[in-house]
């Protein structure tokens, strides 16, 4: 076998039925576990509609589309991307409006209608844009029929224009436009067209560009696929889709909802979000770094408000790159966004901070907190926050079970107040940010968040957790048992210092991404 060719695992299921065949016999054994139907996200719908209609910009209709329910994985999880009656109606309205509008924009219509004197050729061309693959023969016939019914069903008196309108209206509602479908046999690689759109939607939110389309028949070759993945990740179009994973993991959407009952409130709400995005873009794209960088870097971005929290000087009113004290700061865990979200108004919240580390960095599922809740007792001079929390939830209390796991992780951040500012004293008591925590099955000790973040950055468990997150996000579904190999491989690479983008390349060239299951 030529290097880079196929490499899909052998499977026992052999399916002979083509997907276009008339009702095959019922056979439960033909069921597959892995999803093969992926609805476009609203962001993907925008770029896809733009591409079909040859628009200069995204049409924007999806602002009014119905959202989806919460997913167990990430927002692009196919499990929650349903088309119910409300969304079907949204698609319908958008398709009707857009098709009607574009053919009445003379300049646009002329471009859209090029070649429509030959309906067969024209529907093939538009169909390929809409469905991200060449039309099958039976489909060509169907769409020519649709084309020919245009004058009758639009009836404006301009026959050719009516035909174009009807085809566009229908294509924008076709399941082959709205879904990405994987139809091949288990054990075989996705075909080139399926691969092209899967890669492109994953990395760019967009339908495949010309270079991918031109290479479609070579994409079953892993080396070719890798070249494209690297090319695409180096392009600015990857920024928003790739960063979105990190925004979801770090809950950036919540940063804008941070509300603190203090005078700093308004400014901080906006700025923590901006800081984290600038930092993520830097580590992901501008100076490609690793997970280690994300968790330990001392550089970040600050404006005068955040500089006040960091106790540093900045030169102007805008955000600028700054370097923080390596003794007190290490990566996202010590930046203002995380620290102020996972806090009370002004006081730290070790339980929330620790819980985040357990959940989002270690991928450990915690049971829900007990239903009976009580306060940890009032703030008092001579009693630190840590001591109050420990009295309530530590060893010997009813919270012992979970909190012996959560609290030590949270205590590492006790040097940071509710805004993320550094402190040495809490309620008259010297800060104790020491702790012992089990990573990779070994108990490790630390004093403060910098040491803790460095330990996390060296922990295979943390890299494996992030590998799982990348796999779930790039595969647009929850983790499956079969993903173990790729997760292990990405975890290893990550631990050895591979850049985050390299990990993405691994994920989208893995067998689990390329092959039908």
């Amino acid at each position: 076998m030529a290097p880079g060719l196929v490499e899909c695992a052998a499977v026992t299921l052999l399916l002979a039925l083509a997907c276009n065949s008339p009702s095959p016999p019922e056979d439960d054994a033909l069921d597959v576990d892995e999803p093969r139907l992926y609805r476009l996200t609203h962001a993907q719908w925008e770029y896809s509609a733009q591409s079909v209609l040859l628009l200069d910009q995204r049409p924007g209709n999806s602002d009014g589309f119905l959202g989806s329910t919460l997913s167990l994985a990430f927002d692009n999880d196919t499990e929650v991307l349903l088309v119910d009656a409300m969304l079907a109606q949204d698609y319908q309205r958008a398709a009707e409006m857009l098709a009607h509008e574009v053919v009445r924009n003379e300049e646009l219509y002329i471009e859209l209608a090029i070649g429509s004197d030959d309906p067969e050729k024209w529907v093939k061309k538009v169909g390929k844009r809409a469905f991200r693959r060449p039309l099958r023969d039976s489909e060509v016939e169907l769409w020519v029929d649709v084309f020919e019914r245009g004058p009758e069903l639009v009836g404006s008196g301009r026959n050719q224009r009516d035909s174009v309108q009807l085809v566009l209206q229908a294509m924008l509602q076709s399941p082959y436009f709205l879904y990405r479908v994987e139809t091949g046999k288990p054990g075989e690689p996705l075909d080139g067209w399926e691969m092209a759109e899967k890669l492109s939607y994953t990395l760019w939110d967009r339908p495949p560009d010309a270079e991918l389309r031109d290479d479609a028949d070579r994409l079953t070759n892993k080396a070719v696929l890798r070249e494209h993945a690297e090319r695409m990740l180096a392009d600015d179009k990857a920024r928003v889709p790739v960063r979105r994973l990190y925004e979801e993991i770090w809950r950036l959407e919540d940063y804008v909802h941070i509300a603190k009952d203090t005078e700093w409130d308004e400014g901080l709400v906006v700025h923590t979000d901006t800081e984290s995005k600038l930092f993520m873009d830097n580590v992901l794209f501008d100076e490609p770094g690793s997970l280690h960088t994300l968790l330990t870097a001392t550089h970040t971005w600050a404006n005068p408000d955040l500089a006040e929290i960091y106790e540093i000087e900045v030169s102007g009113d805008d955000f600028e790159r700054v370097t923080l004290d390596a003794e007190t700061r290490a990566g996202l865990l010590t930046q203002t966004g995380f620290l102020s979200l996972m806090a009370e108004d002004e006081q730290s919240n070790p339980i929330r901070r620790g819980g985040f580390v357990i959940d989002r960095l270690l991928c450990i599922e915690l049971p829900p907190p007990p239903d009976e809740t009580t306060g940890v007792g009032p703030m008092a001079e001579g009693l630190s926050n840590r001591e109050r929390v420990e009295r309530h939830t530590g060893a010997g209390t009813c919270g012992e079970g979970c909190h012996t796991l959560i609290n030590p992780a949270g205590y590492a951040f006790e040097h940071y107040d509710g805004f993320g500012g550094w402190r040495d004293i809490d309620y008259g008591v010297e800060i104790d940010a020491t702790g012992t925590f089990t990573l990779d099955g070994v108990a490790v000790s630390y004093d403060g968040a910098v040491e803790f973040a460095n330990l996390l950055a060296e922990s295979r468990q943390v890299h494996a957790c992030h590998a799982r997150q990348i796999v779930e996000y790039t595969h647009a579904r929850e983790e499956m048992d079969e993903d173990e190999t790729v997760i292990e491989r990405i975890a290893d690479a990550s631990l050895e210092g591979a850049t985050l983008l390299d990990l993405w390349v691994e994920a989208v060239t893995a067998e689990s991404f390329r092959c039908n299951r």
């Binding site: 039925l17 997907c19 276009n20 065949s21 009702s23 095959p24 069921d31 597959v32 576990d33 999803p35 139907l37 609805r39 602002d63 009014g64 119905l66 959202g67 329910t69 196919t78 349903l82 088309v83 119910d84 009656a85 409300m86 109606q89 319908q92 398709a95 409006m97 009607h100 649709v146 019914r149 069903l153 639009v154 009836g155 404006s156 209206q169 229908a170 509602q173 399941p175 082959y176 479908v181 919540d254 009370e344 339980i351 819980g355 599922e365 049971p367 829900p368 907190p369 007990p370 239903d371 009976e372 809740t373 009580t374 306060g375 940890v376 703030m379 109050r388 939830t393 919270g399 909190h403």
Partner: protein
């Protein structure tokens, strides 16, 4: 306003004629009953034994209710609804049936309208109901708006818990609309672009259905893929168009707020706009059932009352500064929770006023429900249900009932019956709603 019949043609091809959503087509009802549920989260201040708190929600004793009964007990939340006493059935002592490995709020929210057991897997905040919700059942039965209930929401997104109320069936949660403007645009239907728009739409729908069918016949799809395609298949059709409109000022206000609905400070404003839509939709017989969820699953809204910004409501319901079990004590938390209960009552009144303006109180069942009985203990005991409206003359209004400790699914059965839902024979009133282990039958005292 005259309800109009706007059913056009059926868009479906032959393949879908056996689909369940079509079953309601032949059903006619002389006097439609309209059902709406408004969900508050986090329990109410009805006295949490664990903390020695007292009941500040209910009237002192069960029995008949009138303006004076409620107004004379101004310390109790329900006094806010004194003006509406003659339409009220306040029901205490109804319990949710199931506890399990789900968080209190998801489990309560999932049981509230389904009477079903929440799932063990997914668990915790991701748990799902294992049955259909009553709003869906009513809407499906009458097939108004294509058998779709209105499913509305006001709260943040991408949080611990979002919409929890409405289910098409087991594990099949309905996504809720959080933007009233989007919901309104959808109700108004597609723009009438030209004379042939309906005919064209039907043809396109036929084509889409054919392609969906083609895809469905591909047996290499997973079971979940098939399920998703089934839902899509059932969702492609011509939609009934709302024949009435909001006035210009209302439309403008709604449009201006579009996209801002998820912000904390807009919570009540958005809720009221949703209520305007619900009443409008009922008035034109566009839908028969609706839900409105106020706040996310464990409502963390920071409400403003009398100009004062309150702490996170979920924290207040825990009486401590946390979503979990350990945090600083919030002094005055119970008082603030009580004030939020009152705010919920006043917000509920907005819905009642709109229904009343459309002359719908006699025909309606408006229910103020909750995911919990008490916030602190996350109790499923004595979850408050406040019913308003005549239910088409079938409800015995103006009373306060205390059922002690009775499964709440019987109330759901009662509501479905009053709304006119029958067994499959089309005649026998529905006998059971909710999990099979829960009792059948209705709450007789609620009925005339």
């Amino acid at each position: 306003m005259q309800p109009l019949t706007r059913r056009g043609f059926l868009a479906a091809g032959g393949a879908c004629l056996t689909l369940p959503w079509l079953e309601g087509l032949s059903r006619a009802q002389d006097a439609p009953v309209y059902t709406v549920f408004m969900r508050q989260a986090n329990g109410v201040t009805q006295g949490d034994g664990a903390l020695g708190e007292e009941d500040r929600f209910w009237p002192a004793t069960p029995g008949p209710l009138d303006y004076a009964t409620l107004a004379d007990q101004p310390d109790q939340v329900l006094s806010e609804l004194a003006e509406w006493a003659s339409w009220m059935i306040a029901i205490k002592g109804l319990d949710y049936g199931f506890t399990g490995p789900f968080c209190g709020h998801s489990g309560g929210g999932n049981q509230c309208l389904t009477g079903s057991r929440p799932s063990d897997l997914p668990s915790v905040n991701f748990s799902l109901a294992l049955g259909e919700s009553v709003d869906n059942r009513i809407a499906r039965y009458f097939d108004q708006n294509g058998g779709e209930p209105l499913t509305l929401y006001t709260g943040p997104r991408r949080n611990f818990l979002e919409e929890v109320l409405s289910y098409r069936g087991p594990y099949d949660r309905r996504a809720a609309e959080d933007d009233p403007w989007n919901a309104y645009q959808r109700m108004l239907g597609p723009v009438d672009l030209d004379a042939l728009v309906l005919e064209r739409r039907q043809s396109v729908n036929d084509l889409v259905l054919e392609q969906l069918n083609d895809l469905k016949n591909c047996k290499r799809l997973s079971t979940d893929d098939q399920r998703r395609l089934d839902l899509h298949f059932q969702s492609v059709r011509d939609f009934e168009v709302l024949a009435c409109r909001l006035n210009d000022d209302e439309e403008q206000a709604m449009a201006l707020l579009s996209g801002q609905g998820i912000l904390n400070d807009n919570r009540i404003t958005v809720a009221k706009m949703h209520m305007d839509l619900i009443a409008l939709s009922f008035a034109c017989d566009h839908s028969r059932a609706a839900t409105l969820q106020l706040g996310d699953g464990n409502d963390g809204t920071m409400y403003t009352i009398d100009g004062e910004l309150y702490p996170n409501f979920h924290w207040l319901s825990h009486r401590i500064t946390t979503d979990g079990d350990a945090g600083d004590v919030i002094y005055g938390a119970e008082d603030m929770h009580h004030e939020i209960d009152r705010l919920m009552a006043r917000t509920f009144i907005h819905l009642l006023e709109r229904l009343d303006e459309h002359g719908l109180m006699e025909q309606s069942i408006a229910v103020w429900c909750n995911d919990l009985g008490n916030g602190v203990s996350h109790s499923y005991e004595s979850v408050p249900f406040i019913l308003m409206g005549g239910g088409g003359g079938k409800l015995k209004t103006g009373q306060f009932l205390d059922y002690g400790s009775t499964p709440h699914n019987q109330l759901l059965t009662t509501i479905a019956q009053v709304a006119g839902v029958t067994e499959d024979d089309g005649e026998t009133p529905l006998e059971h709603f909710g999990h099979e282990d829960l009792p059948s039958g209705v709450l007789d005292e609620v009925l005339v």
